[in-house]
């Protein structure tokens, strides 16, 4: 599902990732951890092609990202579900519109969009907040909208950047349970987190980054 070969990324001459090589197989659940500034977010940004590597090769779901023409990038991103630490919700759109916007990109009928939006929000317990704007929701609710948006297209791969960063521990564990259940259905999940307690509570394959190096690839924390 994911293949990185000698990936190098720098910002203004400062190396953020130094020759990372690894593979993530289909249906795997992988934690990406390390201290702040280790390169976790850069790693994920490269995977959803918000950045291009300075050197090396990244293949995600069969797409060679460095060689991917710009006009095919939206098509590639629609195959992923990305959960951002800061949610990245569309502030001027309602909760319902945030979800149905993603569906509208597939040119589904209005009725089908509404149906899928309702079902996904119901799954997240947010079906009664469809008309609310994101700023009217609590942090936890906003996070659930962001998750609903990532799940609504039933992607093959979910990338989550510090998904529990803005949640209390209980909600954080609930979120991990949800991601695990999605993974059991065959979806590949990569979660970047610096929270060791989450990894200890939900042990799985863990990639540890330090100063841009991949220093460990093992089971559990």
């Amino acid at each position: 599902m994911i293949r990185l070969e000698g990936v190098l990324k720098s910002y203004h001459g400062r190396l953020a990732l130094r020759g990372i090589s690894t593979r993530v197989e289909r249906s795997e659940f992988v934690f990406l951890t390390g201290p702040s500034g280790a390169g976790k977010s850069t790693f994920l940004r490269l995977l959803y092609r918000a950045e291009l590597p300075d050197d090396g090769r990244i293949v995600v779901d069969g797409y060679d990202l460095a060689a991917l023409p710009r006009r095919q990038v939206p098509l590639f991103r629609r195959r992923l579900g990305v959960i951002f630490q800061d949610f990245k919700l569309l502030r001027r759109r309602t909760v319902g519109e945030n979800i149905s916007f993603v569906l509208s990109l597939l040119d589904l009928s209005e009725k089908e969009q509404q149906r899928r939006t309702y079902l996904t929000l119901k799954q997240m317990g947010l079906h009664n907040r469809m008309s609310a704007l994101p700023d009217e929701l609590s942090g936890g609710e906003q996070q659930r909208v962001a998750i609903a948006r990532a799940l609504v297209l039933q992607p093959d791969l979910i990338l989550a950047d510090e998904p529990s960063g803005n949640l209390d521990p209980e909600r954080g564990h609930e979120l991990m349970e949800l991601l695990k259940s999605i993974n059991y259905q065959g979806t590949t999940v990569v979660v970047a987190t610096h929270d060791r307690s989450l990894i200890e509570a939900h042990p799985d394959r863990t990639l540890v980054l330090e100063r841009g190096h991949l220093v460990r690839d093992a089971w559990g924390a």
């Binding site: 006009r71 939206p74 991103r77 990305v82 990245k88 569309l90 040119d107």
Partner: protein, 278 residues
């Protein structure tokens, strides 16, 4: 479907364009009404006053009343068979007294030889110059004047006035173009985060850009339609005084398109402010 989302987005952006959007609409409305009015007046002047189908008049002052007979005989021999009216001095005297009633008593007290005999000839504007030269060379003729001369002066003056008017209308449309460009540029900068998010969740460039172009189009088209409505109002108000002043179908079709194109063009240029992806 994307259409519904796009439409909601256009409505949001029209709201957000605020006072600048209203200014753009008003500028297009004024440019459309002004341009349309000029177009109508231009058509009316050329149709009614300066058209080539209109006849010109050549007025000849004869050296003597008797010269009229010789000249009309010569005119009759010309192949183009024009219509003319020969006025003897007595008739000229009466006509002048009729034109200037306050001087009538003075004019009528003068001797008949004080007035010349006149020959008025109706010609097509294209024949006017040739006939005037032929007449000027005749020994019976003292002075020749053609109405084509003032028609040409009026034509020159009117052309200049129309050119200035159209430049003004174009400047207003250009102003709308610039206002829409700035509105879209500001909106794009304001929505930079949102545009980045849309890209991250798989929106195509056209999904992002189309609502902005539609905003420009909507502002331009709304302004043009208001302008056309104003134009129809002006036409109705002037119908009694200038029945020949009509709004053509072509004009009513082209004017709204002009505003819409200016708005969409401004928006397209404003979209250059959208940052590119790596």
């Amino acid at each position: 479907m994307m259409v519904l989302h796009g439409w909601r987005e256009v409505k949001r952006q029209v709201r957000e364009s605020g006072a600048a959007g209203v200014a753009a609409v008003l500028m297009v409305a004024v440019a459309t009404a002004w341009g349309g009015l000029l177009w109508s007046v231009h058509g009316w002047v050329y149709r009614e006053l300066l058209g080539h189908s209109q006849s010109s008049t050549v007025v000849v002052v004869l050296r003597s009343p008797a010269a009229g007979t010789t000249l009309t005989a010569a005119l009759q021999a010309r192949p183009d068979g024009r219509r003319w009216t020969l006025s003897q001095p007595r008739q000229v005297q009466a006509e002048l007294a009729g034109w200037f009633p306050e001087l009538a008593s003075v004019l009528l007290a003068l001797d008949e030889p004080s007035f010349p005999a006149l020959l008025k000839i109706d010609v097509t504007p294209s024949d006017s110059a040739g006939l005037a030269s032929w007449l000027a060379a005749r020994p019976e003729v003292a002075v020749v004047k053609s109405s084509t001369q003032w028609q040409e002066r009026l034509d020159r003056t009117f052309r200049r006035a129309v050119a200035v008017g159209f430049v003004l209308a174009a400047a207003l449309l250009g102003g709308c173009f610039v206002v829409v460009l700035l509105v879209v540029r500001l909106l794009v900068l304001d929505h930079a985060d949102e545009i980045a998010i849309m890209r991250l969740i798989g929106a195509r460039e056209r999904d992002i850009r189309l609502p902005y172009v539609a905003l420009g189009l909507a502002l331009g088209a709304t302004g043009s339609l208001l302008g056309v409505l104003a134009l129809v109002g002006i036409e109705l108000a002037l119908k009694a005084s200038f029945p020949a002043l009509v709004l053509g179908t072509a004009m009513l079709t082209i004017l709204p398109l002009g505003g819409a194109v200016a708005g969409a063009g401004g928006a397209a240029l404003g979209l250059l402010a959208i940052p590119k992806e790596p």
